[in-house]
Symmetry: D2
Subunit: 462 residues, 4 copies
């Protein structure tokens, strides 16, 4: 759960990276970094926190050069946080390299063990450090061949942007799990950009050219743009990006997220119709699907829940007696609006079920006579191993309980999830397009040994 | 443009004030303060910044007592900012007093001059300091009579919450310009709360009891609740609270803001219909009125503009070459959605016109064939003198230009404002209810000499 | 325990004030403030912390004008700290005024009560607020007469520097308890400076002109310099400034502090001789007196205790088990140096006795066979009411115990204090000069009712 | 120019390391770090700034375990500062390791190039990273043998403290350039400490046991203490530690720094006598040698220059017009004391000469009739390559000019340096003891190619 950005041939490369990271901030708020490249010397700012808090005019002024890569990272549940801030960089025989990485290697442990046995030292938990070590040890000639060699050992999901001494390189794994798009600015000439989502292009007025293909290594340097191939895989783009993770104003592999969410909501209304008086989204993520549900069903759409955007992750619930306020700190019901009504609530997903129960109670307290929960995606029944930080299987309410039992737990009058087939139809922009829907179906494109105990980094930066 | 909060008889008074200020944060993000009262000794935290940034568990633990008042303040255009953070407090003959104040005195200059001539010293620009000085000089007996005496000299708009050594006092000016509501917690007994808006009650699970009446001084102490009267005025509640300022989930003098905005949008559709394919709000403030417009007109409602909530007021536009991105930092068009369509854009208001022009261009760049701007309120033609920090008359595009000329300036295909009558109808919850709409009509309930030069505080805290 | 500074007629008035406060930092490290005057508009920076931490180039750039006053304040034991940061300022009928104040009014309570009864409001504990209120209420004509009138009500110790709209004013109470000196820069013309100690002049290359006389009000404006008189008092300069408080490179009322400390040490050697092998000071404050002792006695002077200057007031003793390290965090004995020797230790004073005991033990642990403590001032037997924040009488070990008993408590082989007569001789630079030595003798020049309960400010800024 | 500390077998290992670093703070104020070891998991805090600013009770509480190492680092002239904060750590095949390092490898470039050619990646400029890489690649068995193997490739000066998963290891290079001492706490049992200087032991009440021998690897684990040997070198302890760098209360290889400085001052008086009235040190570093000079010469010792300890490295000289104040910000002359006198000034060294000139002028301005500069060490004529960050040869005034010419430049009446022979006599505690005095004599124990261009790290952390 990260966002990456790269740009080459712009006199304000770091500034535009900074802007691009703003647009990708929803993909990770824990830390951010920008590395600029001034004739092979890399200058980097990497800090904990959100983009707008980290970067000042003074800091950006210290990032010279016309090539730059950037990264935003999601909060993960633990580990040596400070050490993992990206882009990661190193100086090796073939020069300086910095990598911004979105994804997850499924064989990272094996690779680390092999590299350590061969004399490598590690100081982060990042997959990226493995790639850097593999590149430095490669016997191949040229940095691109070294990268190719390194990635031939790697199995998993990755969308990466690199700067070497003179190149901007974009890579996507053979399954194309995570998004990565190529764009271009109108001016200056040959100013290419790469980003996780197209919304980053809109902000800097770049045009989307095409997606980086699964298994593609795209190299941009003074000789222009050349495309290389990793071993071919089967296209398996993450459907969860459409369901929840990407911004509605992004276009993923050619399909508008907004459109796919409208379609999910509409299909949900067909699969789980209900007699009701209002369709109310849980803002912000449920809004578009709720509009789709309302349109298909003909039930009026109402913004019956208001979100307080001033409540951040750092909100302090100061004392025990008021800790139970929970979801009320973020959401409030519009008074009177739902009184005496049968309300359909559209939320993006149910994870543990506790929040859904609080929302049901909130809406009943606002006077609703019935509360029907509708989820525009199937029940999440398994963890993601390809880059999304889902809860463990034990925490997923849908992995343990039937839909009927979840309905009881959250105290709803009815509960309906979109079917897997319905979801596939909703996102079927191109007839042949294939997704990874392992978190819903258990069909993992790359096999995983869930019992394997992960090897922890034993260095804890405080 | 401030929010006030007060609570009495709760063991965690400061904590609940902190929560209440969270819900009122939209009324002011520049500074915030909480003063708690522990047997007549006042403990205060007042800082620049947003509520969630200022208050830590440690700070809140230093605010003991069962009575507390709080304040959030809007960014004003200049002046001695640090000095004006509220609640203001003082120690005087009759004991300690702290006041949280929302409003503006129109005769502040005259009062200051008179008080200075009588030996008073001032160290802030705040109206509140005038009230404190007038109270301290009053010959009346008892703090309530002193307050009444002090306010008898004052002319203008004010909703205030005070703590004296043992009382919580709520006051509203005789015209009732600014909102102020009384609520009550289920437990503990006699736990009364006062707030600018009801959304602050929802968060702490208090029930709205009634509005503080125009001209009322409500005193809550160990003897219970008593109501006093200032000189009677004519009810003139600020209609702009409904149009823009209040949260849609608040109820103002009994009327739901959400409902009034739906009605404004619907009336706007009747007054300014247009053949179009989509109604798109400028989020977040235009959403509810756009829904009203869409319903009335039958044109589909689309969330065609996505707002980036991570872009704050501190956003730095790092270099000149990218400064023109302007509105794109906050808003992005959903790609494809508006292509080839005739789009109705609903925005809450047009102030200088520059933002509206950028939005029109953004939507045309997204492929719209026509862009029709609809504003669910009349043109703002004059400044507010009763507590809202509007631009000067010279900056208001509608004060200088005709609607036709504004339409040209913002490059729209058409432009329609809600009429004054239409607005009055939309907010006519109670048949007899009267509003101040001076910023639209020029009918100022309390006469103003606009040529009077304001007396500036000559102390600049850096 | 504060330091004050003022300057007029310098284009970088605030910068020079900043430098002056650096030199006066030893007089107060808790907070600091600079107020500059640009044609009657006052600009101020007042913050908690040391001068070098507070002021940045950016802050100083926001303090325009050619007149400026500054203040450093000592840590006091409690109270509303934030509110008391100086210079204090206000806007009154006669314009803007800022005051930097060193001293203490003995009748502050009476004055506050009288002012409150007359309608004044207070928001600080500072004596300065009383002066500002008295000035604002004065019926006298002109700001100088108003100040004179205000001070005629005041009893106690004060050295003050004021800026009014166009004047720099320096005032010293009729007894002249606290120091205040006039100086002059070589250029520009008529650039006068006022400071608590001459060391502030040395840094900015100003020349000492003369002391502000006890009871003098010196006014510097465009008409030049004029001197006014308060009621005449008896000169009673604080002898403790020579003993401990002032810097050794300052000249107080014409007498070098370095010289007076050498003389104290020498007299101490005459009064309390001892057979010993080394004279060791407790650095830094005991160094000069120890040199005097060594010279007079002929015993070698050794820097046997080394002070760690990196240990500040914010030092955290992290866990209980290491809290007993106490004085070792600041002082360490030079190994070997005192082994087998009879050591005379010269420390500036004994307050509670606990530190002295630790020093005795430290020196014994370093191998000394005998430890003789010598104090170059008499036992402190009473609190100061004229501006020095001494411990209460109950905490003063010498107020309760005989010298013999203190000797036992601190585990010394012998203990000798300088006699009151000896001290008087040591500081007798001018034959007729008179000191306040109330803390040693109990002869308080202005009578004090110690049983009076101080009226506390009931406003606690957190 | 660093300080290192290590401790094993103490329940509050990190707290004691924190205290030890306080005592070593004079060896480096730029950054500090503590790594604690809790059963092989390393926990680290490494930050820019001084020890007392970095560590809070909360941070220290996050450093569990009974083994800990710490480091303070001196400000160097540039480079990737943030990345070089120590202790450095890594996870390798043989487990986790953290190293705190004081010194400098003269063949670091060659080693880096060789390691990079073998596939190593680097992200810091630190010598320590080279050691970690060499250890990880070693074919030797066991971590101690790997360390020995790694150091067999290294040439230069190093005193290091390491924690491996279960051992505390202390190492000193075969020449023993930099100090490293072994100590022991009385309780708990087997609680060993290692530090750069003995002053760190005094603070935590540990006893000095002995120096770590040149070429020794001392290993402390559950099996007790074992000593290993690197290739034997010739003892060449850095004489500059006695001259300037170490604290006067430290004992270096058995010789008290205080004693050696007294002796240097005394010899200086013999070599360069002068008729004068006062010996004045430049505080703090010149004080002890000045005492030696005064004793030998019989000229009175006076503290004629007072140092302002509140002026830190962050002092801002706010505007151009006052920048020339220079040395006056730190030093002030005691008024009157030197008037009409012939003054001998003892300063620890002359580097560029500009500061010495300012001091001469300051003392003349204070009225001295003659100013004689005496330096208790020989002229510094070459850079140090063994761990002290001296200016380049070009900046050293004594490398380019004769003593007569330096005397003219600094405007002194006479100038005398201690001779090399004199210095050797002064520090000759043990008859056979040998020093490195390359910076004075040019006799570099390990040959240096000064023309070699250093390989810069091309990663700049901002």
């Amino acid at each position: 759960m990260c966002g990456v950005f790269g740009i080459r041939n712009h006199p304000e490369a770091a500034n535009l990276t900074y802007l691009g990271l703003h647009a990708l901030q929803h993909r990770g708020q824990e830390s951010a970094g920008v590395v600029s490249n001034e004739e092979g010397i890399l200058h980097g700012v990497r800090r904990m926190g959100q983009v707008r808090k980290i970067f000042t005019r003074e800091l950006l002024a210290q990032l010279p050069g016309s090539l730059s890569v950037g990264h935003v990272r999601y909060a993960t549940s633990g580990g040596s946080l400070v050490r993992n801030i990206q882009p990661l960089w190193a100086q090796a025989q073939s020069g300086t390299v910095a990598i911004a990485h979105n994804g997850n290697f499924v064989n990272e442990d094996v690779l680390r063990a092999r590299l350590e046995a061969d004399g490598a030292i590690f100081s982060s938990m990042s997959d990226t450090e493995v790639v850097l070590q593999l590149m430095a040890r490669s016997k191949a000639t040229g940095i691109v061949e070294q990268l190719k060699d390194a990635l031939s050992h790697v199995s998993g999901a990755y969308s990466m942007v690199l700067t070497t001494e003179d190149k901007l390189i974009a890579v996507r794994d053979p399954n194309g799990f995570r998004p990565l798009v190529l764009g271009k600015l109108k001016s200056p000439d040959n100013c290419w950009v790469v980003a996780s989502e197209t919304c980053a292009f809109d902000l800097i007025e770049a045009e989307r050219v095409r997606d980086i293909e699964p298994g593609e290594i795209l190299v941009i340097d003074n000789n222009g743009m050349t495309s290389h191939r990793l071993a071919k895989g089967v296209r398996r783009f993450c459907v969860f990006e459409h369901v929840y993770f990407a911004r509605p104003d992004s276009v993923l592999d050619g399909l508008s997220v907004y459109d796919s969410r409208i379609a999910m909501g509409a299909r949900l209304a067909q699969e789980h119709p209900v007699q009701a008086d209002a369709v109310v989204p849980v803002p912000d993520s449920g809004v578009v699907a709720a509009m789709g549900y309302a349109r298909q069903s003909g039930i009026p759409f109402e913004m019956g829940l208001i979100r307080n955007h001033y409540v951040g992750r750092t909100f302090i619930e100061p004392m025990d007696s008021i800790r139970h306020f929970g979801v009320k700190l973020k959401l409030n019901a519009v008074p009177g609006l739902m009184k005496g009504k049968r309300v359909v609530v559209v939320d993006d997903s149910i994870v543990r079920g506790t929040t859904s129960q609080k929302i049901v109670r909130l809406i009943r307290a606002a006077g609703a006579t019935q509360v029907h929960i509708r989820i525009p995606s199937p029940p999440v029944s398994g963890p993601c191993h390809y880059g999304i930080d889902t809860p463990t299987r034990g925490e997923l309410v849908a992995a343990k309980q039937s839909v009927a039992s979840v309905k009881e737990a959250i105290e709803a009058d009815s509960l309906g999830y979109l079917s897997v087939d319905g979801l596939r139809e909703a996102v079927k922009a191109r007839p042949d397009y294939a997704y990874c829907d392992a978190c819903f179906t258990g069909n993992y494109p790359i096999p995983i040994d869930e019992n394997r105990v992960s090897r922890k980094l034993r260095l804890v930066e405080v």
